[in-house]
Symmetry: C2
Subunit: 431 residues, 2 copies
């Protein structure tokens, strides 16, 4: 029998425990598939005594997590501590420096330090693997780096955050407002007590940053990802979107527009006929556009013990089989600095919702401003009448530059009849 | 610069030409991603002089295709000749024997000779790669062998034949009958002049046979795959299915029922709410059930020049990167002989359509027979009345063994009021 592949697991939260369960339950399968056993030699976490529902007695307990990088004979450190700095960062760096592979589910770590860590890993001929960092149950890192590697990728659109997708689905299905659906998500365990990372788009931002790096061969530059979350979305938006034939989805977008990149996270209107519109609840999906493969769509659970641990173990299997690909698909020293498109230059159709006082002349004023910026209105909806009261008016535009929408909204907001700054969202018709 | 990865392309039909196009157009990308250039050194096809729209002048022309296996310095033969026997088989065998990798899009070859060829490849430490053989634009072989390799797979359901899916979609959308939709598919280039391989389920049978081998670690045994095509499906079935909340899809099914395998291709009723129901036209999809990853769904184009060639080149990239996995995910000598479930023992819900003379007592007679086999009726639909004339009656059953459905249908068919043998199809509610 071949030598076992020896790993240490740092962090025994949901995912860490899931990894232990898989390696215990499917040991025979894994051995056949890898041609050698996968052996957990050590584990580490904050509390040694906590009952985690799995038997850890056969594994060495490492008191100081960072020491795992120096354990004798370890082939890979599985970093599940989390956070972009602190122990996660120092453990990963130390392991790679020691010539030990690192498998991680830590999107923040790789989005923030990916270039440095990739360079380090490749210099030591080891791997920094992170399939679990993006859409756990969907092997999208593998698909992009390997399955679609024959293609020049022009765009990626992803539903990458299950919490937001759950909230948006719940709002549409029940007519609830954002705050109520958030509470519902928290009660079901789909949202954290402090949900900001999810609902402000940061989590999806880390993920699309990583996918963009692989797709376009650029250094990950998380600070340049423009992120808009879903806090400002109201039941009215969901309803109007539905009437116009769309669903609201928080999309991670990575698009090559004439050699310049648009990498963002924002709520968008997606046509009901789009396969992305059918992705509901906590499910994730990634829609890829390649020059030969056309438009595959991969869907599955984005989080949770089983799917995320499954992705971690898939990375371990690759390493045990002796396979490694550069972190971002091409050698780190070949990664280019990303050139971003100016936000104002982004061409898209837009959805505008205006809160206005219902009185004659409002639409004429708004239309005149839009006309002055060469923005054509594609459709307009207003429900009922409430003379002198607040009403919502929704417009969709033809394709236009963001700078024109933004400038016109500044002027529209100054109209006396406007009660709030217009709500602007992208319409993604081509999905 | 590293040594190039040298390939020969045998067969210059649609896919072969697509492979040449990718390697020419995306040469720079491929070189970065592989760490070395991919170099076509020779090509071969029936006619040397045909204009294929790509420049082949730089490549050696091999007159006798089988000689490609012996070309000096070749790293991989790309077999795109097709057919399970003849040149495809002898070329593949000879190349593997010579220690040359083989990349193929040939599902018939691998489904029929996979075990022998895998053993040969592994004995020579080379790879038999066939990502393009199943659902071209979907990296499903890679997903099963690698991405989901941490999981024990319990079932796979695939829409694996674009021709059939196009025909069934067209029948539903236009109300056309099978023959008309087939002609439409032929006119659009989605069906061959002789469409039997597609519409009789043989093509999907090859594919599900391969997926089952990987999923369950068994030798491919194509002759044991039970295949039912779509020829007998009528507009009435499509209509009734719709009324009951289902769509008709030709599914490749690979299911582990208590340690015994059910591997088949058959038209099934899939609930409208299932993500598989949303896969229309020529698109393919594969729905996988794993013990940790849950139920990912991969969709994309199943055929065509670009997607299939993209899959072929993905295999080439893996090899150029130095990665190979055993043909069926575990070493050939570890593959088990599949143990199949007896067809009669398959538990499922069923759809029954009866052509009967509309006269009192028909339903009573049918119901009595079903009752005698312990089959409960879940719903029944009959439209309008036509006393003394032919009408269609549709029933759906609760879960029952196939043997009971089959036996009762034999008796039902003997009723005087029956005009034809009942049409029986599986209801796949759990998708």
């Amino acid at each position: 029998m071949s030598k076992s592949f020896r790993i240490g697991i740092a962090g025994l939260g949901t995912v860490g425990v899931g990894v232990v369960k898989i390696i215990q339950k499917n040991a025979d399968l894994l051995e056949q598939r890898c041609g050698r056993p996968i052996e957990i030699i050590c584990v580490s976490a904050r509390s040694k005594d906590k009952d985690r529902g799995v038997d850890l007695s056969a594994y060495e307990w490492v008191d100081n997590t960072e020491d795992m990088a120096g354990i004798d004979g370890i082939d890979a450190v599985v970093e599940l501590v989390g956070g972009s700095e602190g122990v996660a960062y120092s453990l990963t760096k130390q392991a790679l420096e020691n010539g030990v592979h690192v498998v991680t589910a830590n999107k923040a770590l790789v989005a923030n330090h990916g270039y440095e860590l990739a360079s380090l890993a490749e210099g030591r001929d080891v791997s920094l693997s992170y399939e679990a960092a993006v859409a756990g149950g969907i092997p999208v890192i593998k698909a992009l780096r390997e399955g679609f590697a024959a293609n020049r990728i022009s765009s990626i659109y992803g539903i990458l955050n299950g919490t937001c997708n759950y909230i948006l689905t719940d709002m549409r299905e029940t007519g609830a407002e954002f705050e109520d659906s958030l509470v519902e998500a928290q009660e079901k365990g789909y949202a954290e007590a402090d949900p900001s990372f999810d609902i402000d788009g940061v989590d999806a931002g880390h993920k699309i940053c990583l996918l963009a790096s692989i797709a376009f061969g650029v250094k990950p530059e998380f600070s340049a990802v423009r992120m808009t979350g879903i806090r400002r979305i109201t039941g009215i938006d969901i309803k109007f979107a539905g009437e116009l034939g769309y669903k609201l989805k928080l999309l991670g977008i990575a698009r090559d527009q004439g050699g310049k990149l648009n990498i963002s996270v924002e709520p968008c209107l997606v046509p009901n006929s789009s396969p992305l519109a059918a992705i509901e609840d906590v499910y994730n999906a990634v829609f890829i556009n390649g020059d030969f493969v056309d438009t595959p769509l991969l869907t599955g659970r984005g989080a949770g013990e089983g799917p995320t641990a499954s992705a971690v173990v898939a990375d371990i299997i690759d390493l045990a089989r002796g396979f490694k690909v550069p972190t971002f698909g091409i050698p780190a020293d070949k990664l280019k600095d990303p050139v971003f498109i100016d936000q104002g230059e982004i061409l898209a159709r837009y959805y505008l919702r205006l809160s206005v006082v219902d009185q004659p002349g409002v639409i004429a004023d708004v239309s005149a401003i839009l006309r002055d910026y060469n923005i054509s209105i594609e459709s307009m909806v207003q429900h009922g009448r409430a003379p002198g009261q607040a009403v919502s008016v929704v417009m969709t535009t033809h394709k236009t530059k963001y700078i024109d929408i933004e400038s016109s909204c500044v002027l529209i907001a100054e109209l006396e009849t406007l009660l709030d700054f217009p709500c602007v969202m992208r319409l993604e018709d081509e999905l």
